[in-house]
């Protein structure tokens, strides 16, 4: 198998007439997206951005505890990987993926109570550390999950969800179920033993595990060249004889296409794959690191990394393909603006409203009672 195998066949892959045709006129998963799909994808990217912006502002006002790992500039990865999943697929977000908890299964309807994803209110309650949070605020930020919703709860230990995803996917296999488990990881976490042990196991048994690597070039204060020896992080796939795809993490449709390619493969029982999404970490590792990050990363580098805002990239596509008019595209424009410069007017009202309701719910919720601390160490009968 060609390890760089992608949705569009590469030169080496073009052998038959059929291949040639496929190359000339690739049947990309995006081709079956409707206008409504596109508008919804855009709305979800706005939502992810607005949620992050709101948290940045709240954190600056001193209203939040814990570290905020901004997902800004990486929204296309979250939306692009989640949009095509089915309700019964599983995911495991980590620290930088807070919006994934509510973006999951959004296609079933933002307010649909049957939806297999968390509500924005639940995620806000988690961020605010309230009794209404899924884990009752026993653990912080991204360390939540839900088996009924198909979300693996993560620990802080990076890459530790990959072996767990293997367990879930092995259950799928035993049940002849064609669900997939999609795990998120930073490129830095691909150095962990759990990453290798998990992928090795997944590959041996053709488990439906899709490892999304958000390569934002930095793992805290260490650049990717000191984390990974291969040209692309996706090249690590070679060691497991599985496909390793590289996607443009700023382009939601490229991420979507490649995810769907991996998902279809996994549903057919053909096993795991890695999708490396190239992106750039917009701010510090966490908000505590914002100032230091401006010292260990050059100004030029940061500017370059932020230049291709995923909202702008997608809008260009939508305009070029007649899905949005120039005017419509300009209506809401948070792209390229710093988190603290954007205002509610830069976002569609339904997005602002959805987050506002969630934040209000969180603020109105009580803190957990101290007794909560002693509950559920073991299963309570």
């Amino acid at each position: 198998m060609n390890q760089k195998s992608t949705v569009i066949p590469s030169e080496e892959e073009v052998k038959t007439e059929e291949d040639k045709e496929r190359k000339a006129k690739p049947i990309l998963p995006r081709n079956s997206l409707t206008r409504e799909d596109h508008l919804e994808i855009l709305r979800q990217i706005y939502l992810a951005r607005y949620f992050d912006v709101r948290l940045i502002k709240e954190k600056r006002r001193g209203r939040l505890r814990g570290t905020l790992y901004s997902s800004q500039n990486q929204e296309a990865i979250l939306v692009g990987t989640l949009y095509g999943l089915r309700s019964d697929d599983w995911i495991s977000p980590v620290h930088r993926d807070m919006p994934a908890f509510f973006l999951k299964d959004m296609r079933s309807g933002w307010d649909n109570p049957e939806r297999k994803g968390m509500s924005i209110a639940q995620v806000c309650a988690q961020v605010w550390g309230k009794a209404t949070a899924p884990g009752r605020a026993k653990d912080n930020w991204s360390h939540i999950g839900s088996v009924p919703l198909g979300i693996i709860p993560s620990t802080s230990m990076l890459a530790s969800t990959i072996p767990v995803a293997c367990g879930v996917a092995y259950d799928f296999k035993l049940r002849n179920h064609d669900g997939v488990v999609l795990t998120y990881n930073g490129e830095g976490s691909t150095a962990r033993g759990d990453f290798h042990e998990g992928l090795n196991l997944a590959a041996i048994h053709d488990l439906a595990v899709i490892v999304v690597v958000e390569n934002n070039q930095w793992a805290y204060g260490t650049p990717v060249e000191l984390e990974c020896p291969t040209e692309d992080v996706a090249d690590r796939a070679r060691g497991y004889n599985i496909p390793g795809l590289v996607a443009d993490g700023q382009d939601v449709l490229d991420v979507y296409d490649k995810t769907m390619w991996c998902v279809e493969r996994a549903r057919k029982g053909l096993g795991p794959s890695i999708i490396e999404c190239k992106t750039y970490r917009a701010f510090g590792h966490g908000d505590h690191d914002d100032q230091r990050a401006d010292r260990y990363r050059s100004k030029e580098e940061i500017e370059r990394g932020r230049r291709r805002d995923p909202i702008a990239v997608y809008k260009t596509y939508l305009v070029e393909n007649g899905i949005l008019s120039e005017e419509e595209a300009k209506r809401y424009s948070p792209e390229g603006k710093h988190a603290i410069q954007v205002t509610d007017e830069d976002f569609p009202p339904e997005v602002v409203e959805a987050v506002r309701k969630g934040v209000e719910f969180a603020i109105a919720s009580p803190l957990p009672e101290p007794e909560e601390a002693f509950k559920h160490v073991f299963v309570e009968e």
Partner: protein, 337 residues
Amino acid sequence: MSVVAAEETTKVNYLTALRNVLHEEMERFPDMVCIGEDIGILGGAFGVTEGMRDKFGPDRVLDTPISESAIVGMAIGLAMTGRIVMAEMQFIDFISCGFDQIVNNAATMCYRTNGEVPLPIVIRGPSGGYGGGGPYHSQQNEAWFAHSPGLKVVIPSTPSDAAGLLRASLRDPNPVIFYEVKELYRKREIEEPIPPGEWIVPLGKAAIRREGTDLTLISYGNPLYLCLQAAELLQEREGINAEVIDLRTLVPLDKETILNSVKKTNRVVVVNEAPKTCGFAAEVVAIINEHVFEYLDAPVLRVTRADTPVPWVQPLELAVLPSVDKIYDTCIKVAKF
């Protein structure tokens, strides 16, 4: 005032004390190497290794990938070849990812080789709760390693101990797990001058932080300061004069200081912030029972973290961790037994 005198009286915080010793030992021992995540370019998550990469170069201050097992394994290899190694865990909680290399490889190396392969490694990292870090940024997991023969376990509570114990640990031929108390890193109230020269606090020597006659409080790390506050309250409100011992190192343990104090006060409360079951406090209680049972006027009690993970939000975190109130109440129980 001369420069030397100024240096001697400059107060430094806990973190700076550690940083200075690392710089000094790197200078003194050209073969010493530091490895860990983000210790070079960034200067460490908390800044303990700040300035070291610039001074000693990226080869001796190595930024590793996120690979705790490889960090410890590599430290073992480097130490085998005669180097002193400082290996940083970004948070001591992540030491679990390097656990096997520590307890099965490093801890047993000397034993397996009949003492031929010393491993001068210090695995250090920020530890402890009270900061709202949640289950994975608040642990005090020293008992795992005190329970693995072949490792030394050190927990300094003051800047001068941080400096003196770190130097002693780096110069010790055995692997040392060195717990830094992150809530103390920048605590103003405990800043103090560090004694000049190559200041060393020997491993295995406890410190009596407050002399007393009526009751002994034994602790280390964050709760040491809670014990000192409780001792003041006991004095003020009840006229109970408590002695407070800071263990400083768990392995080797200064049994003598513990037992002498018990013989004097006849009443003991042991306080630490690890979970109660099989925590180090239990070990201290057992040692007291084994050696000086006949001196006791009351059962030895413990104040520890509850047997739960460390929860995140404040009302929950404080509910499970030792507090001045919990220590005070327990002391009253023991004093009035």
